[in-house]
């Protein structure tokens, strides 16, 4: 008999629900985006995000079940993002998941949002271990080593801004409309990387990242130019900034992949949709015949619930269960989440 897993995701500004079959097949995947309502504020306003979630949640669930043509009776487990994310936003998903699971007496499984981003790839291709995941988004820049399902070891992470955060801040400096990240990617393709922005390699053999220096360098360069009455082409600034980010991400990921002798390299998170990053990674890994480079399809890069259900299916099969007292945890650590799952097994 097939396994059906329901996933719910409300950690930021997308209200999402999905149903997947046997851990890897999407049956329904519904995302209600709030980008339009946050645009005028130039970023996500947490309280507004939470208000939207509570308005959307049953509508999104209904659409999901309609598309999937199954009922709660068919569902084996209800899985939900318990963190990290905006606490008020997470709470709507967590409590909706509890309501559903309780009403039908189904198992409830809390899922780590980043585990979800990584498992988005498993909806396309089966994992082969060890694998290395580069997770890049507005809130995260992490290199994660996985030796098996449900095992997550962070071998590198940002010490200040996330890559996506740097994108947003530079976009704001360039006065690009929100969300600025994709816009920079677009501009970069029309420009030339002719400004020499710094690359933060940190200590040799460190897989950590740092993007705040780069961000400041961009802001200072623009500021100084303005005072001297000089101007840079927006396209060139975007291209030069992107070149710096992409080079560091690609190089560090490559070094880590070599050092740990991984079979697969997965790029995940919102910034995985970045064309500059995709191209650079593909070029870098082209020669590596024993390593497979994987990107999730664009629709699964940004927040969605199919990825939560995919990670949730593994957790469910490994015996992880959440209690009725499940809470939202805005700063849930991936390693703690992994350890806890291991303990419950």
């Amino acid at each position: 008999m097939s396994e059906y897993i329901l996933g719910i995701e409300t950690s930021c500004d997308e209200t999402a629900a999905a149903i997947i079959k046997d851990g890897r097949e999407i049956v329904a995947n519904v995302v209600a985006s709030q980008i339009e309502s946050h645009k005028r504020f130039g970023g996500v306003v947490p309280e507004i995000a939470s208000r939207h979630h509570v308005e959307q949640i049953t509508i999104v669930l209904e659409e999901t079940f309609k598309q999937a043509n199954v009922t709660m009776t068919d569902i084996d487990a209800v899985t939900v993002t318990e963190g990290p994310g905006l606490v008020g936003a997470l709470l709507v998903g967590v409590n909706a998941a509890k309501g559903l699971a309780y009403a039908h007496q189904k198992p409830l499984v809390g899922v780590h949002h980043i585990a979800g981003h990584i498992y988005a790839n498993r909806l396309e291709k089966e994992f082969e271990f060890p694998l290395l995941a580069l997770v890049v988004s507005g809130g995260h820049t992490e290199l994660i080593l996985m030796k098996d399902h449900g095992e997550f070891e962070i071998i590198g992470e940002t010490r200040d801004d996330a890559a996506g955060e740097a994108y947003d801040k530079v976009a704001r400096t360039l006065e690009l409309p929100y969300p600025g990240g994709p816009k920079i990617d677009q501009l970069a393709h029309a420009g030339e990387a002719n400004i020499d922005f710094p690359r933060a390699w940190l200590e040799e053999d460190s897989f950590d990242f740092s993007f705040s220096g780069l961000k400041s360098a961009v802001i200072n360069t623009l500021h100084n130019a303005k005072q001297k009455g000089e101007t840079f082409k927006q396209e060139d600034v975007a291209a030069s900034f992107q070149a710096s980010v992409v080079e560091v991400l690609t190089e560090k990921t490559f070094q880590a992949a070599k050092q740990y002798g991984v079979k697969q390299v997965i790029v995940a998170g919102g910034v995985a949709a970045n064309k500059g990053l995709r191209t650079a990674m593909q070029d870098k890994f082209q020669q590596e015949k024993e390593m497979e480079l994987l990107f999730p399809p664009l629709s699964l890069c940004t927040d969605n619930a199919a990825m939560i259900a995919a990670a949730g299916s593994i957790a469910y099969n490994q015996g992880h269960r959440s209690g009725w007292d499940l809470n939202a945890n805005p700063s849930l650590s991936l390693e703690r989440y992994a350890r806890r799952s291991a303990l419950e097994r």
Partner: protein, 232 residues
């Protein structure tokens, strides 16, 4: 008719199950704790005590605010999803009106309120007519002193109901003098059982359209609207 009632809109966590108009189980915790942790275990408890299976529920009643934004959302997310998935009606009742139910006294005005910081309160004006609590002034977010000046014009005794009574007792006495009535402590706590009993007589909500009654706009929205005005 089996009704499950949920109130997480303020400090008190309350759930109850009623059967055919009779309260069968009622649970409250008046701790400053996260309702997200406590709510579902509390629901499970009253359901078990009353030997009610979720598919035997006929209606869900929820307190829709005003109150803590997060608290109200925890209650509504749970109540909406349960009502939707069980395909049963949902009823949403003002948290202030629920509190006003604690004062079934004729010929006085009832002012339940929740402190909203910076001298503001969420409040409304209610009265008991032929044993029924009726709204006299809609729920609102107002400066307490201004509210008291409005109440003074009625020249009638006003009963104040609030867990935050100590924060405002002095100014109430100062403005209303002997017109101010303070009941015994237990009457300041909303009863989830009351919520369950009230539900049957209320209009059913469309579950998809049901939203909390925050009363207040989000601060960022207020700022944005002001700027729009300035820029003409």
């Amino acid at each position: 008719m089996n009704v499950l009632a949920i109130d997480t809109s303020n400090q008190l966590l309350g759930v109850a199950v009623s059967k055919d108009g009779e309260i069968k189980a009622e649970y409250t915790a008046n701790m400053k704790r996260n309702h997200s942790v406590g709510l579902m275990p509390a629901i499970d408890y009253v359901m078990q005590q009353t030997e009610t299976k979720s598919d035997q529920l006929d209606m869900i009643a929820v307190a829709k605010g005003p109150g803590s934004y997060t608290g109200v959302r925890i209650g509504l997310s749970t109540a909406k999803t349960m009502a939707w998935t069980l395909n049963i009606p949902i009823v949403a009742i003002s948290s202030l009106e629920l509190l006003a139910q604690n004062a079934h006294v004729q010929n006085i005005l009832i002012s339940p309120f929740f402190d909203a910081r910076r001298g503001l309160v969420y409040t409304g004006l209610y009265e008991c007519v032929d044993g029924q609590i009726q709204v006299k002034q809609e729920d609102q977010n107002i400066v307490m002193e201004q509210w008291l000046d409005e109440l003074k014009k009625y020249e009638q005794p006003v009963l104040f109901l609030s867990q935050d009574i100590v924060l405002h007792e002095e100014v109430i006495k100062e403005r209303l003098g002997e017109f101010a009535i303070f009941p015994s402590l237990i009457d300041h706590l909303p009863r989830p059982g009351q919520l369950a009993l009230m539900a049957e007589a209320y209009d059913k909500e469309n579950v998809h359209e049901l939203t909390p009654n925050y009363i207040r706009l989000v601060e960022a929205e207020v700022k944005w609207l002001k700027e729009q005005e300035k820029n003409g």
